[in-house]
Symmetry: C2
Subunit: 309 residues, 2 copies
């Protein structure tokens, strides 16, 4: 874990077979296509259905990427877990692999836990992994975990582990919170990633490091362009173009919707498969989605070829 | 999985060393003490900090109990998990071990999931485990999971898997829900367990199968007595006595409080250890707790001896 990973990162969708097994071949192909289009790889995030995978499945998929030559420097695997021993196993593996960093959920089973307990959790993982190369990005997604990463917790962790606590992903969808994270910490080597490209230009202006957004899975080049050119004359237009695509996917069924679109654009029907408790998008929903995407001139250049490759 | 497990079941506390490793010796000793005092073993529940354990740790602890001669017929391990592959692994292991049943949380990471998705999750586990011996108890604890087990879901699962879906634990703390579960399903071979002994007599009168309650860890004989004698003349007095103890533990810090009491009564300080994100009870809280327990003439007969054994 050396150079900081910045820019547009995809919480990489995990492809399954119709038997609900991870499809390693399509996973590698998707990651390679994302990297070729300028994206970083936040594998094993919320949109990856990582919570629906076992630890062993996650380790095997990560190893398969490395064996296929996908660069570890582009990877920020999700390694947070309810179980502190799982978090240690996953984080240790990521550090050994040379990943640029790890994106760590707080433990999300118990509710109403204290900042002291969360501090102890991260401190224990850092202590057990015991590596100067470890870079942790804290994952704030309170609407899912119900366990927030508060500014106070970030401050305490930064004070104790200044080199290890490298940044945060803010998935709250609350701009005031993203802005507060940036105002408090961005000038201090702390890399803040909002979870949607819709606030990317605004966040970059305040010192954000990029974004880690679901739709980077489908629109990597478009979102990368915003990251690179937000403060050039064409910036606002690129932001507006990315916003149009984002809005089409914005729904409680974002994961099934994105996977169905990957199926439509690759001709590979199994891309639509999700693991329970998620449910695949129905044909009517898919038809509506595809109409809207066509109206917006959306394309996934090279995606179908990458899946066949 | 043959005879139905009924009565007072403990969501067995998992003892840790001060290095946060599971302490197999004390785990076995605690389970034997519970069985000797008439309790069943709902190992790997919420009060077991099961969500803070890895799958491997759970499998090893379960195997250690079996090797130590603790009867599988007394066990109802928790096997639900966010990850459907973990749920399959844990459930398969429980069936092979001959456990009386399994207590299954719904997948608890994603929020706002549909009953269809939850049905698919349970159906997939049943399909993969593929055993006539499997008995599933659905675990309703919405204040923690934020994913309720609705009456409609129970009905659909019962209709499709009448022999496998054997009952439910209702940890909602909502008597109206417990009563509705009992009214709808208890006459039909569906075993409902409220999560507190405070409603045990009332629930038994409506056909409940017992209770699966945190405080069975400390007061197994007292709660077993309510189960056996609720409708005898001494029933109300036994219920009232159990209620007094229950109320002393009723707080958001129930797990640390119970573990601290186990430490005090066994002289084994490490009993107080919890895994993050939970935080151990402080000395002031412990002193208050012990004062209240002494005032209520609370004792744990044989517990210290069992821990030394």
């Amino acid at each position: 874990m050396s150079a900081r990973l910045k820019g547009a990162l995809a919480p990489v969708m995990t492809p399954f077979t119709r038997d609900l097994e991870p499809d390693t071949h399509r996973f590698i192909a998707h990651c390679k296509w994302l990297v070729a289009n300028g994206a970083g790889l936040a594998i094993f995030g919320t949109n990856s259905e990582a919570a629906s995978l076992s630890v062993d499945e996650r380790l095997r998929l990560a190893d398969a990427l490395l064996e296929a030559g996908v660069p570890a420097s582009k990877m920020m695997p999700g390694t947070g877990a309810s179980s502190i021993s799982d978090a240690v196993t996953l984080t240790r593996h990521a550090v050994k692999s040379g990943a640029a960093g790890v994106l760590m959920l707080p433990p999300f089973y118990y509710k109403g836990v204290s900042d002291e307990g969360l501090f102890n959790y991260y401190a224990h993982v850092i202590d057990k992994v015991a590596s100067n190369a470890l870079r942790i990005y804290l994952y704030h997604i309170p609407q899912v975990t119900q366990v927030p990463i508060t500014l106070g917790l970030i401050e305490k962790l930064r004070a104790k582990f200044p080199d290890t606590i490298a940044g945060a992903k803010d998935s709250s969808g609350n701009w005031d919170n993203t802005k507060a994270m940036l105002d408090h910490f961005a000038n201090d080597g702390f890399d803040v990633f909002p979870a949607s490209e819709s606030t990317l230009s605004a966040a970059l202006a305040l010192g954000a490091a990029g974004c880690i957004s679901a739709t980077v899975n489908l629109n990597p080049a478009g979102i990368r362009a915003v990251y690179e050119k937000w403060n050039l004359p064409e910036g606002p237009q690129l932001q507006a173009k990315a916003d149009v695509i984002r809005k089409i996917f914005q729904s409680p069924n974002m994961i099934p919707a994105m996977k169905r679109v990957a199926a439509e654009f690759s001709g590979h029907r199994d891309w639509a498969v999700v693991r329970p408790p998620l449910v695949s998008l129905d044909d009517e929903g898919a038809a509506r989605l595809m109409r809207e995407l066509r109206a917006a001139d959306f394309a996934m250049p090279g995606f179908a070829d990458a899946m066949r490759g």
